[in-house]
Assembly symmetry: C2
Homo-oligomer: 411 residues x 2
């Protein structure tokens, strides 16, 4: 480990080091109806052209080549030889002067030059007369085979999440199940002798533990599977035990919260090293989140995060979520960024490390605007406060990181 990593890495370096350890997991096959926000294990080509056959775009009459009258002019009258409903699989061939009654979506017969919408047609018995302008055209109101998607064209690329609209095309070209990258399994535990579960009571001196709830949600929102290993006291043997008990073959990622500060009871790093973990960095040049370690425990990624839940939320957005997305094969996984106009002054307690402050992004007349969150308000972005600055002014353009991927696709 070089000196930099010993002293602390900046956010970009941390992301690079983490993503460098994340290879896509193995694949599984799931039903098409359940694949939204999953990542295909490989690019998915069209198995068939779309549409799969020439089909009518209107309810009307599919006409063949016109017969000629005595003067060599095309005759506008056709003999109706069949009726083609949507779903009809019978195949017809139209001879000159013949037409079929055809419905929207119906299979266009061989020899059909186009479909005349019924509102333009005059029907008398088994004859239909169409306006002469249709006699000199070709292909009108026919949605021709493969015109939307040619066979083999990629519908969803590797690295891109499947969205509902992709399902339309995927079903259309014949998929009913997809090979996708497995969801990462994330085991987590929270240390802190002061923490108790809110399901029980609390004495003064004890705090209700929030991180287990927060992590469960964040892990699920990132497409991964949470496994809560419980709470542990601030005790080296206890932490070593819980780390040692983890089945590394069942945990793609391990997270701890708490036990990371410089104080007397901070012990995650010691326990992690003692059971053979390899530290990749041990401090982050960022507030909050300075006391964060990242390492490997066997094949599992290990994130030792600080205890305060707001720091956990931030570090999850900036480091964990990218890792979980990359393990699922995502190409773009770090938070989307944008610039926005700050609508309120932002004064930090002190200068120093770069900071990320919770913010609310909103739109005003086509402009991105941002303000710090109020108390008890959820952030939809983080406002980036560069190192060394203490005051960001109202009206200033600031850089923001989007939260939760709600906007990741917009960046």
């Amino acid at each position: 480990m070089d000196k930099d990593r010993e002293q602390g890495v900046d956010l970009k370096t941390a992301q690079r080091l983490i993503l460098g350890e994340c290879a896509a997991l193995s694949e599984e096959t799931i039903p098409l109806g359940e694949c939204v926000d999953r990542f295909p294990a490989r690019s998915l080509p069209a198995l068939a052209p779309l549409p799969g056959f020439d089909q009518s775009l209107r309810d009307g009459y599919g006409i063949g080549r016109a017969k000629e009258d005595g003067e060599g002019k095309p005759k506008a009258c056709f003999r109706v030889v069949a009726e083609v409903a949507a779903g009809d699989t019978r195949k017809f061939r139209l001879h000159p002067g013949e037409a079929v009654r055809i419905m929207t979506g119906g299979l266009v017969p061989t020899g059909c030059r186009g479909v005349v919408p019924q509102e333009y047609c005059q029907v008398a018995g088994s004859e239909v007369e169409v306006p002469v302008r249709f006699l000199t055209e070709d292909g009108f109101f026919i949605h021709s085979r493969g015109s939307n998607i040619a066979r083999g064209r990629v519908i969803v690329s590797r690295g891109t999440p499947v969205r509902p609209e992709h399902q339309i095309d995927l079903a259309g070209v014949g998929y009913h199940a997809l090979p996708v990258v497995k969801r990462p399994r994330v085991h987590f535990f929270c240390t802190g002798s002061e923490l108790v579960d809110p399901a029980g009571g609390r004495a003064d001196g004890q705090k209700f533990s929030a991180n287990p709830y927060l992590l469960q949600s964040l892990i699920r929102l990132a497409g991964a599977i949470p496994q809560d290993l419980g709470m542990v006291e601030d005790d080296l043997d206890g932490v070593c035990q819980i780390l040692g008990r983890i089945d590394q073959s069942a945990a793609d990622v391990i997270i701890s919260t708490g036990g990371m500060g410089p104080g007397k009871y901070d012990l995650i790093e010691e326990a992690f090293s003692r059971i053979g973990g390899q530290v990749i960095y041990r401090s982050l040049k960022l507030r909050p989140g300075k006391s964060t370690i990242f390492g490997l425990l066997g094949k599992s990624l290990f994130f030792g995060m600080p205890g305060p839940p707001p720091a956990v939320h931030l570090l999850f957005n900036e480091l964990l979520r990218p890792a979980l997305l990359r393990l699922q094969g995502a190409k773009r996984c770090t938070p989307g960024q944008s610039k926005a106009c700050l609508t309120e002054e932002l004064l930090l307690r002190k200068r120093g490390l770069p900071r990320l402050k919770s913010g609310r992004l909103f739109f005003d007349n086509g402009m991105c605007m941002v303000r710090p969150t109020r108390q008890i308000e959820s952030a939809n972005c983080y406002i980036s406060c560069p190192a060394g600055r203490r005051l960001l002014r109202s009206g200033e353009m600031v850089r923001i990181h989007l939260v939760d991927g709600g906007l990741a696709s917009f960046s």
Copy 2:
């Protein structure tokens, strides 16, 4: 039904009519860890103050009132009488001249004036000396009871979805389970004699059915529970049968796709009326989506949507998702809107009804920009094309509707 509704309602009117029929469903209690994006059945007040007790913000020494030396000056030396770890529930009282060793998060003893961070302290045996500047202050490095959240303060209001950050505060003030509004149960069926499931084969004339996959996903993304009733042929008796079989007490919402156009095989409205459904509107002044009916079947909301999946996607975003959110108690439920600068010319096939075109919103230097989607690209917004206009120019500010609620919270 007045003439307007007979001839077609505009989008806003449709939304108003639909939301007018949507009252929040009954409540259920779920674990706090599973409540993200659910709506509380009532506003959730803090059950206890946060923090729940005066706690130390630093590892250091909690000092009592200083003793005075012979000249009446406060003495900077304190006798350390105990050690308070985080989680320690023992209660101490500090007499003048006494101090406790205390950890971050530790319970501040009665009579403690403040916590001096350990880096400022000189320790000798059971004595600690602190810088004199701390002797004249009060409350330093103490996070006092209730200073974040007072008891009774509302953490999440009725009508607001629970987000991960709310879980932090909710757990902190003692929640471990929440009363939330139930998820709507949505039964759907797709009509079209031409449709077959992609799990089987397909003959020319038949199409793979995409709507069941699309609807499953969209319904789940809107927080509701999908129930696929299957595919039905374009046949009045068949549609009547499937509608009649639905257990209206188990279906908050019923959706059909297909069978809605003006053609020969369009029959949803007839079947719906025949089994006693009450039509509220039968046409929408919008493209795509003109052929849409909304009504009531007993207590179930009924949406008859057109067959083309892109129209289903759009109508879901504009009408169904708002309904499903309102049934869950959401206050804001119609798609978030913004203005954006169009970066490419948008030419429509014809003038006429207002249109919504699939678009991609992106940010450029703090500005909202939008372009039409390419083929096989998912939309993150719809570009609103006003009635009567055929050409929207590059550089023009256009109104957009956000898709999927990804940005709904930003509007």
